[in-house]
């Protein structure tokens, strides 16, 4: 069982890292032949960095659009971020001070995460427009994340698992000398779904994570008159003449 999980996490990590790297490489290497920032857009590089920062941290465009979706998804994403930071302590030996400090918040952020996901799930079911555009996978993602969150909360607040053992297991995986995982149902489910998520990440809509940084309508500087923008294939087209 422990060996199986160790192998699972090694595979999951490889798939996640290599898969994402390949996707990022694809996005980076595909040219954007035309200047298409959604205007009004920043006219400097620094402005673009700020625009992306506001988009990634505050979900600016979604805020402009619909407050309900914004509240649920922002709550989910920010809580997830806090929870992920908190989880670092299970994977590193000398836990950094900021990670120590975040622990109490991180613990309760799990509730915000599940609440946000629940809101998104209800919205997907009850708003006819959102229901129309939803594929089974769209519901499944929410369910997977909700179960990950709930099983995690179970371990924090209901049935504690032997977290020291878990940490020994994962730090052991780095040197291929893992110990035993505690036998604990929420933990088994939690880890299985996290591994599943990692494996599916590069093949799914979770690609919105790298995608946002490569979206030409958000990451381009609005300076087409000042600076000539020419993609390699467009240049080749010109040279044919």
């Amino acid at each position: 069982m422990s060996t199986l999980y160790a192998l699972l996490f090694i595979v999951a990590t490889l798939v996640l890292v290599i898969g994402l790297a390949l996707k990022i490489k694809q996005y980076a290497q595909t040219p954007a032949p035309l200047k298409i920032p959604t205007t009004p857009a920043p006219i400097t590089e620094a402005g673009v960095v700020m625009r992306l920062f506001r988009e990634v941290v505050f979900f600016e465009s979604l805020f402009k659009s619909t407050k309900w979706t914004w509240i649920f998804s922002w709550m989910f994403h920010m809580a997830l971020f806090a929870v992920l930071l908190r989880h670092l302590r299970y994977f590193i030996d000398d836990v950094w001070l900021p990670i120590e400090l975040i622990q109490p918040f991180g613990k309760y952020a799990g509730f915000a995460m599940v609440a946000g996901l629940g809101g998104l799930f209800l919205r997907r079911i009850f708003v006819d427009r959102v229901r129309y555009i939803s594929a089974p996978s769209d519901y499944l993602w929410l369910i997977i994340l909700i179960v990950i969150g709930m099983s995690g909360l179970m371990m924090s607040f209901v049935a504690h698992t032997d977290i020291v053992m878990v940490k020994q297991f994962f730090t052991g995986v780095y040197t291929f000398s893992w110990g035993e995982l505690p036998v604990n149902f929420p933990l088994i489910v939690h880890l299985l779904l996290v591994a599943l998520l990692m494996i599916l990440f590069p093949f799914s809509k979770l690609l919105h994570v790298p995608g946002i940084f490569f979206s030409p309508s958000r990451n381009q500087v609005d300076n087409p008159r000042e600076k000539r923008h020419l993609a390699p294939w467009a240049k080749a087209l010109e040279e044919q003449e």
Partner: protein
Amino acid sequence: MAKADFEVPELQEHVDVPALEEGTMAHLKPFVVKNPDHNTDLGFPGELVEDWHDKTLEKLDDLRHRYRSLQVYLDACVKCGSCTDKCHYYLGTKDPKNMPVGRQDLLRKVYRRYFTFAGKFFPKLVGAEDLTRETLDDWYSYYHQCSQCRRCSVFCPYGIDTAEISMAAREILDSIGYGQKYCNEIIAKVHKVGNNLGLPGPAILDTVQGLEEDVFDETGVEVKYPLDVKGADILLVTPSADFFAEPHVDGLIGYGKVFHEAGVSWTLSTTASEAGNFGMFIGSYENMRRVSMRIRKAALELGVKRIVFGECGHAWRVAYAFLNTLAGPFDFLDPNYPVPQHICEFTDDLIKKGKLNFDKSQNDDMTITFHDSCNVARATRMGDKPGGQFEIPRNVIKSVCNNYVDMDHNTIGERTFCCGGGGGLLTDDLMEIRVKGALPRMTALQNAIDEHGVTHVAAICAICKSQFTKVMPYYGLDMDQIVSVHQLVSNAIVLTGQKTEGAGEAAEAAG
């Protein structure tokens, strides 16, 4: 009210987001290219090719490797629903395939089926679908119900722009010989004659000479409307509708008066007698480039120092955002001026320098509001600050009119609603979607009329002007309630040496 063989939506106080009704617009398809020349002139097969299935997938694969936007946008959508109530065509038709994401998914489900792991092995799970003849018809139908206005892209958390998807889909359809008659016929005309309307040089010359006479009769001042004058400082590139249609031509009269007062020499060009570039509508870089190169060629041949664009929306996008890429570098022009410059930038600059004299009372019979044209608003800029595209035209209007009010703030600026006729939809065979898609704009306009006594709406886009003229009667408004911004300038400007009595009949708007 104009008669319609479809149900015209009734104007309410607000545009409520409708409950969706599947298939309400599935019947609407623009005419397909009939004359194969209109395809082959553009470099596409004359008619639907036999191996359309493989060719479609080949083209989709080709495009996703050439356009980062397409690849990222096909991958990144999480189906959050943020865009679902943002498209004027959805609000006016209730058809879920007119929701931006619904429209994108028509292409995305094919992309997923053939190009993604999940779609290849678990199509049902991720909503991937086979490419069939019906898929093509669906694409043809719904990708010609998108005006590429980019309103959805403002509200998408990843900036996914349905215009990019529509352009790609139309390029794919063209590449298999399933092109739209309206766009392709027009591009063929531009390649051959030099403008969208197929107006030959002598006809343009006749028009501009007529304008000179009219302006002289009206003002007693010899304002010139030069054509093909070598050595002029400025090449004016303006939509060909400006040469004959109302209210467009009143705008052209205005540009001429402004140039006259500025004391600059300028010229129109027979071969570049069109600002519009329908190459963008069909997503074809090659055609867009070919159309743009006419302008470069004309500028070189005439030996001008500057290029100024007239009032046109999608045209200003291609000019502002793409011209330098497509037909640059413009190092042979005067580097002290932006290339190209918008006529509103030109006029605004003169106003700020105090070089123009206006009698604003000439526009006192009107209360004006301004319709931000979609592509000017969300794909371009004017001036040197972000948002100049909103301020500069308004500043021009306020400098020549005493009565100005904005429409509802949720319907202007970057949130502006498309007129309903942009992006290659300005054709009679698409009248139903044009009328229904105008609902949000007409609602905001009617509210401004009721609440603020607005009498006229000004625009800086040839498509908006034509579309409003045609569509306003369906909503019980008058077709001449749409005016050009430079028509207002023309009404109010006091030319040096102008005779005073009866100067500038402001009511000419009603003509």
